[in-house]
Symmetry: C2
Subunit: 191 residues, 2 copies
Amino acid sequence: MKNVPVIDQIIDLAQSLIQTRGYNAMSYRDLADQIGIKTSSIHYYFPAKEDLGRAVMAHYRQGIRSALAGIDAKTPDPRVKIERYVGLFRETVQSGCICLGGMLATDFTTLPQGVQTEVRNFFAENEAWLANVLETGRTSGAFMFEGSSAVKASAVFAALEGAMIAARLFNDDKRLVSAADWMLDTLSAPR
Amino acid sequence: MKNVPVIDQIIDLAQSLIQTRGYNAMSYRDLADQIGIKTSSIHYYFPAKEDLGRAVMAHYRQGIRSALAGIDAKTPDPRVKIERYVGLFRETVQSGCICLGGMLATDFTTLPQGVQTEVRNFFAENEAWLANVLETGRTSGAFMFEGSSAVKASAVFAALEGAMIAARLFNDDKRLVSAADWMLDTLSAPR
DNA sequence: GACAATCTACCTACTGGTAGGTAACATTCG
DNA sequence: CGAATGTTACCTACCAGTAGGTAGATTGTC
């Protein structure tokens, strides 16, 4: 029975609500009722919804960043790195969610500016990591593809996001797995 | 100056608002104000929001269906079929929108049941068409891939949806093009 | 007159947000 | 030491605006 600070409860629940329902379908009342506080208490920590949105996205980015650092630390093989990366997505989809970044990317036009920036940075950060893994893999001979690794990375990331959305839509995480397998296959196999 | 029936104006505008802002950020008031009628007039045609949602999705599906029929009629080459198909997506993203199906797939958990069904059907329909093109192409030797064409089709469709979302996020439709080029390349090239 | 289409007028529930209060605890200072 | 003064973390009680939705009157057309 840990005594989790209210502010962390708010961020965690807000993240999960946004991931499952979207930014506009997450309200201060939802949060307050489920945590057992009043909406004004949430305003105490996050005066405007934009502040909460930014905090949630920043927290999410931090989580991904340390997950990626963990992968980099434990896994030298680029192929395995991508596999572990896909594993992160699979965990999310197995809990009935889609990626927070993907969700907010579709809500994009309705987001406050500060949150929009966070979302773009999230995409950029993931793509940069992927581009690096792809480029390293190509140099080492593990991967084989033509053209810019940055462009390929953005295609890979977008494909994974799309596969997540479809996987949740049909409640079938094999959709994510098969999409990932296909990509890994075309990237690595000189047939 | 065509005299467009009000009901069609409602459907068209609702579609465009959902595509740009999402289901929950589209309101009867938005529609009424922009068309120049009262919200109660919309309720006359669509008593509940679910009715409107279903009508919009059904209309959208019909549009896609005839577009696909057009491609089938004019284009025998499977490769070119896919290229034209991607062209449909590019048009959408160039007008600052994402695919209605992709948008509603992320809003999925907040949708009324009738709309949810339409969204799943939309995905299934696109994937079925793609699977057919892929399978035909493989038989004719135009494409080359292993495994089920249905599985490959769902991966292709999801990748395109994801690429659209990213393309709008960065206001850069090259992201869609390069993702599509990559897929076509891996599907067709025996290297 | 019948009917379709549109209006006015209203409802309840919920939205993000504000103002001001209060109990508990910590800090400062005579 | 103990009283005064913050500060923190909530609360109650609002607010204007918006959500989807309803009832019933009005208008125009065949």
